[in-house]
């Protein structure tokens, strides 16, 4: 019995060091040698200032930007999470209706048209970085108007959305989506080129 206790202690200690230290350290070394930017959170800068992570959705509400998924943690992941409301929840029903109304008010949605699920339902992480390409296209009109764009410039924005589109299976053409933060940063860059 005593022997077994001693054996357990030794085993636990050794493997705490091996698995907690050596294993984690090995992965850390490999990760930071081969993928240094990704290992450190895919951070992006704007005007030499940390402006966020490519993978963490931000709250956009100004009309000149594309808007992302609704978030119940106001896009501040401390901690991350979703609403956890069930489908028969009245609270969920109320917030979906409110979001739908504001979509119509912003001109992002045709009244009575199909409701984009990703724009009225909140995400699981609270910081979903993506919206579907279709949902982005709904917003082009408003974005272009807020930026005082000409007709050509508006179609340039449309092309930008297409260019930023990712797809899980490109040859099937399903599940297409855009990264809202990246799209908005590219949009600002695009407008810079117009000013010149």
């Amino acid at each position: 019995m005593k022997r077994t206790i001693l054996q357990s202690c030794k085993f636990l200690l050794l493997f705490t060091l091996v698995l907690g230290g050596v294993y984690t350290g090995l992965v850390y070394a490999a990760a930071n040698v081969f993928f240094p930017r990704k290992a450190q959170g895919s951070l992006v800068t704007s005007n030499q200032m940390l402006a966020g992570s490519e993978l963490i959705g931000q709250g956009f509400s100004l009309p000149q930007y594309f808007h992302g998924r609704p978030s119940v943690i106001t896009n501040n992941p401390m901690p991350s999470g979703g609403s956890n409301l069930g489908l028969t929840s009245l609270a969920l029903h109320d917030s979906v209706q409110a979001r739908e109304k504001s979509l119509v008010k912003n001109g992002d949605q045709v009244p009575g048209g199909a409701v984009p699920g990703d724009l009225v339902f909140s995400s699981g992480s609270g910081v979903d970085p993506h919206i579907t390409t279709a949902s982005a296209m709904l917003q082009v009109e408003r974005v272009a108007y807020a930026r005082h764009c000409s007709v050509e410039q508006k179609s340039a924005i449309q092309r930008l959305v297409e260019k930023n589109t990712e797809s899980n299976f490109p040859w099937l053409g399903t599940n297409t989506y855009v990264n809202v933060l990246v799209l908005n940063m590219n949009l600002d860059k695009l407008q810079e080129t117009w000013k010149k």
Partner: protein
């Protein structure tokens, strides 16, 4: 179009799963039977050195009691160490966010949760635990609890396949091999792949950023990739971050998701093939694998149809509440089924916001005892209980003493089988009843109506079957839930392990009867039907009433357009 694309994704997933599980199964067999394999040149010397360091005599055999004691001691000590780390967190290094010590009941709950391979989380990772505790506490238990599952399975396989006194193997050797040859190599490959997709592996303090529109945002970081890899592979499921694999820094892309959901059932699937190789009974292993696969595919199908048919409250709108765009409906559903058939419990979408029938499938998967692939090791040894039950019932029907691999199944074994099958079920029902009856239990419920009942039922189904996922609206970080779910996790883990060890101790001593024309064969389709029937009947009789008034009722009321 979307349905065709989803079906293609599913076929791709199944093909990758079956192929990899088969290859790994063969490899596992070589590891545990001491055959030469591709890693033995590299890891062999490390293994020998480990035994030297630990003073382990690798040829010494243990009987079932010695083996069980060693197992319980290591688990017990691990629990104490993990509680201590959390209580002393503020004094330990690698805590850049200066997180305070964790309260006693929460740290006890978390420690039980990780030692029992449940990984139920009443805490939020990014705001509760330091890098030190995540690395040296949680990551370590992710490995040890998975290896323990494999060790128990090995004992059972040896008990069935051999007849040499009481020898069942050496716990320290089984653990060391499982960790060095299987869990570490797979985890390293997986972790580096995950970083290539964008999962963080950093020791920096959290990034404080000013967003494009000028708001403040804190981006939590940490050594996540190394932990996420073993969390998926070891059917642990405890997220590094609160939103688990829905959080983009834990699961950033479609392909990180594809391989994470694959890893959930990969080792449990491979162990079924390993069992076939070790006992030289590939056909029986294929039958068991087939039953598991059938129940898994059926679960995905029902859940997917339910989710895609939407809700009359949100006509024509894709149900994206709690889901992430990069995964979409299908990958969220696939994950929810995989994570609940296996005792993983990680999530990439919030289960509480799934359609009621999809939630029901999750609960039923857990309540069947986590045996459809199930946890690493624990899935197959759990399935053995049902196999023995089936063999026993078939034996009664034809009036012969039931046999399995030529070993007579008698009253002593059946008593332990019934204990192991009934303990988790009893805990689920009794504790849920307590949660729904007592004020402290009701206080945690977030959603009113039948969904509230589901929250409590889900919590105890998850805890007692060592799954760890949740209808996370439930406020589980109260003394009431921390203590009760903690007890449920211990009962569900060791209330099955000890009976399985006892059965092994009894089986190993028995003679192997030769196969005759009167032997009831376990490698036929007939056996597959019987086994499926027994699993579903035991689960259904126990849980249908409560599932009917929880998610069943909610689905009907949803069709009527009712909200709460």
């Amino acid at each position: 179009m979307i349905i065709i694309s989803d079906m293609l994704q599913f076929l791709l997933f199944l093909a990758a799963f079956i192929t990899l599980a088969y290859i790994l199964g063969k490899y596992f067999d070589s590891v545990f039977t001491g055959k030469e394999n591709i890693l033995s040149r590299i890891i062999g010397p490390i293994e020998k050195y480990t035994y030297k360091l630990l003073g382990v005599n690798s040829t010494k055999q243990m009987n079932w009691k010695e083996y069980t004691w060693a197992l319980l001691l290591l688990n017990g000590l691990g629990l104490v160490l993990l509680v201590a780390m959390q209580l002393l967190q503020n004094l330990l290094p690698a805590n850049p966010e200066k997180l305070p010590a964790v309260g006693f009941w929460l740290s006890l709950n978390t420690a039980i949760s990780f030692v029992t391979n449940t990984n139920w989380q009443a805490y939020a990772g990014e705001t509760t635990l330091s890098y030190f505790v995540q690395m040296f506490g949680l990551t370590v238990q992710n490995f040890l609890s998975a290896a323990t599952g494999i060790a128990v399975l090995l004992v059972l396989i040896r008990a069935i396949g051999t007849r040499k006194g009481e020898d069942l193997g050496n716990y320290w050797v089984d653990m060391t091999r499982a960790i060095l040859y299987i869990l570490i190599p797979l985890s390293i490959v997986m972790a580096v792949f995950l970083v290539s997709q964008g999962v963080v592996q950093s020791f920096s303090s959290y990034a404080h950023v000013t967003t494009i529109e000028g708001a403040k945002q804190v981006i939590p970081l940490g050594p996540a990739a190394s932990q996420v890899a073993i969390k998926q592979l070891g059917t642990n499921g405890g997220g590094y971050f609160n939103a688990n694999s829905a959080f983009p820094l834990e699961n950033p892309t479609y392909w990180s998701n594809f391989f994470q959901v694959l890893s959930i059932i990969l080792i449990p699937g491979a162990l079924v093939f390993m069992f076939g190789f070790m006992l030289n009974s590939k056909k029986h292993a294929r039958i068991v694998f087939g039953v598991m696969l059938f129940l898994f595919v059926a679960g995905v199908a029902v859940s997917y149809v339910s989710e895609m048919s939407g809700s009359p409250l949100y006509k024509g709108t894709v149900l994206m509440e709690g889901k992430e765009v990069r995964f979409g409906v299908f990958q969220s559903i696939l994950w929810s089924v995989a994570t609940t058939v296996a005792s993983n419990g990680s999530v990439n979408a919030m289960h509480s916001s799934l359609s009621p029938v999809s939630g029901l499938i999750c609960m039923l998967n857990m309540q069947l005892g986590e045996i459809i692939f199930g946890g690493v090791g624990s899935g197959l040894y759990g399935m053995f209980l049902f196999i023995l039950l089936t063999v026993f019932i078939a034996g009664l029907m034809i009036g012969r003493t039931p046999e399995y691999f030529g070993k007579k199944i008698e009253a002593a074994e059946m008593r332990w089988v019934m204990a192991a099958v009934l303990i988790p079920n009893l805990v689920v029902l009794l504790f849920s009843a307590a949660g729904l009856y007592l004020r402290d239990g009701l206080a945690g419920i977030a959603n009113p109506g039948p969904h509230g009942l589901s929250e409590v039922l889900y919590a105890f189904s998850s805890a007692a079957n060592n799954n760890g996922s949740a209808f996370a609206g439930l406020n589980a970080n109260t003394n009431f839930y921390n203590i009760l779910t903690g007890m449920a996790m211990l009962c569900g883990r060791f209330g099955v392990i000890v009976p399985v060890m006892a059965i092994s101790g009894s089986l190993v001593k028995k003679n192997i009867a030769p196969v005759t024309s009167g032997t009831f064969r376990t490698d036929t389709l007939l056996f597959a039907f019987l086994l499926t029937g027994v699993i579903l009947i035991v689960g259904a009789l126990t849980f249908f009433p409560v599932l009917a008034i929880g998610p069943g009722l909610e689905q009907l009321l949803m069709y009527l357009g009712k909200t709460f």
